[in-house]
């Protein structure tokens, strides 16, 4: 094999135009990948504090970002998500890429003043997003 090795060594190492950082970028997480974001609001901003007494601050959170192509288990996505990606890329780009949406929620307790002046403490399901998924 000496001839092979020497011929290999004679080849130029990599084309001058090749950019190593560009090459590695494809393995990094995309910068704006699908993830959970905070959005703290107070009911006084919405002028609802005349009937929602508590909580004063509410952070419903939301999901935003791009869904990577190989979503796999990281987002708890079903295989359908990858199929949708392939359709979008290979067959018909009018089929949208999978979207970044909430997968799980937590409840919220609210204290409100009713129109008749009575006071109600209620616990509502699914009022705060806790995890995101690509679907």
């Amino acid at each position: 094999g000496q001839e092979t090795v020497s011929s290999e060594l004679k080849k130029p190492p990599v084309p001058a135009s090749f950019n190593l950082s560009e090459y590695f970028k494809q393995f990094l997480f995309p910068q704006n990948e699908c993830e959970l974001h905070d959005f703290r609001l107070s009911f006084s901003q919405l002028k609802w504090d005349n009937w929602i007494v508590a909580p004063h601050r509410y952070n419903p959170r939301y999901c935003k970002g791009d869904c990577p192509r190989a979503v796999g288990h990281r987002y708890g996505s079903p295989v359908h998500t990858m199929v949708q990606n392939i359709i979008h890329e290979k067959l018909d780009s009018s089929v949208p890429r999978p979207s970044c949406v909430p997968a799980k929620y937590s409840p919220l307790s609210v204290l409100t003043i009713e129109p008749d002046g009575s006071i109600a403490y209620k616990e509502y399901e699914d009022m705060i997003a806790t995890t995101c998924t690509c679907r």
Binding site: L46, K47, W48, D49, N50, W51, I52, V53, A54, P55, R57, Y58, N59, S106, P107, L108, S109, V110, L111, T112, I113, E114, P115, D116, G117, S118, I119, A120, Y121, K122, E123, Y124, E125, D126, I128
Partner: protein
């Protein structure tokens, strides 16, 4: 055109949300969600509201702090089954004769509560009459009282209580002490049939007969007739909202089974375990399964 399409979309959304508002129990639901829908469409902060009693509001804020974190997350260490607590102040009240020294009846009052806000999907688990002791009230010592409650008037519908007397009476022992700010009288057994039969207004008479610890009747002079030591009571209803939007903490998320939206009429309230032990058995059986 674009604008007409937008108008159509808004109209259909409006009718959709109105339909959604009306679909719940056939009446305008007041809960948080319909108000949110209304707010999203009309941008106002919900309908104009009567201002609640300040002491009642203070009590409910205290209850909120006991049940939820600052961010509004229900605390997981609670063992109760209710996900709704409604506090009603009387829409009318009539103070009766001033204190009577012979019987020791210190004070009595007739009150009328309007329960229109209780929806058909909310099932009563517990009910309490709440007395707020104003700071001016000073009981020299611990005072023992018997509270005699009567439900009055034609509102007591016979269908709820077949062969029901025209009024129901009910006694409860309780003790006032200096440091108390609130006194609660459990009236669940009295109100259960009425709330279950969707009674909309409840007319109640409340008489207190108190005896001081040494067995002497507190002389009427201690409580001059024009200053009854107690304001009118509020009515607290602890309810289990069975709608899909309400949070049901007591069944494990693993099964994620929602209680039947429309309880089995035959089983009535037994479909909703009343006490913590019932919840325990539900949980135990579920784990076994």
């Amino acid at each position: 055109s674009q604008t007409s399409r937008e108008v159509q979309i808004a109209a259909s959304a409006e009718s959709g949300s109105e339909a959604e508002l009306q679909s719940l129990d056939g009446r305008d639901q007041s809960g948080l969600l319909p108000s949110l829908f209304k707010t999203l469409y009309d941008g106002q902060g919900g309908a104009p509201r009567l201002q609640p009693d300040s002491r009642a509001l203070r009590y409910m804020k205290r209850l909120y702090k006991a049940y939820a974190t600052k961010e509004g997350i229900p605390k997981s260490n609670r063992s109760h089954l209710y996900n709704t607590v409604r506090l009603f102040t009387p829409c009318s009240q009539h103070k009766q004769a001033p204190g009577d020294q012979v019987t020791g009846t210190l004070w009595s009052v007739d009150v009328l509560f309007n329960l229109d806000r209780v929806t058909a999907v909310e099932h009563l688990l517990k009910s309490v009459l709440l007395y707020t002791l104003s700071n001016s009230v000073s009981f020299p010592l611990a005072v023992k009282c018997v509270c005699n409650l009567g439900i009055k008037g034609p509102e007591v519908s016979t269908k709820a209580l077949p062969g029901a007397p025209y009024s129901l009476t009910f006694n409860s022992q309780l003790e006032f002490k200096k440091k108390y700010k609130w006194v609660e009288i459990d009236v669940t057994t009295l109100l259960q049939p009425l709330v279950a039969s969707k009674q909309r207004s409840i007319h109640m008479s409340v008489n207190f007969t108190c005896v001081r610890d040494q067995g002497r009747h507190p002389s009427a002079q201690n409580s001059s007739s024009d200053r009854t030591p107690l304001g009118p009571p509020s009515l607290l209803l602890y309810l289990n909202d069975t709608s899909a939007q309400a949070y049901h903490s007591w069944y494990s998320p693993r099964y994620r089974r929602r209680p039947s939206q429309h309880p089995d009429p035959e089983r009535g309230l037994s479909a909703y375990p009343l006490g913590e032990e019932a919840a325990g058995s539900v949980r135990a059986s579920r784990h076994r399964r």
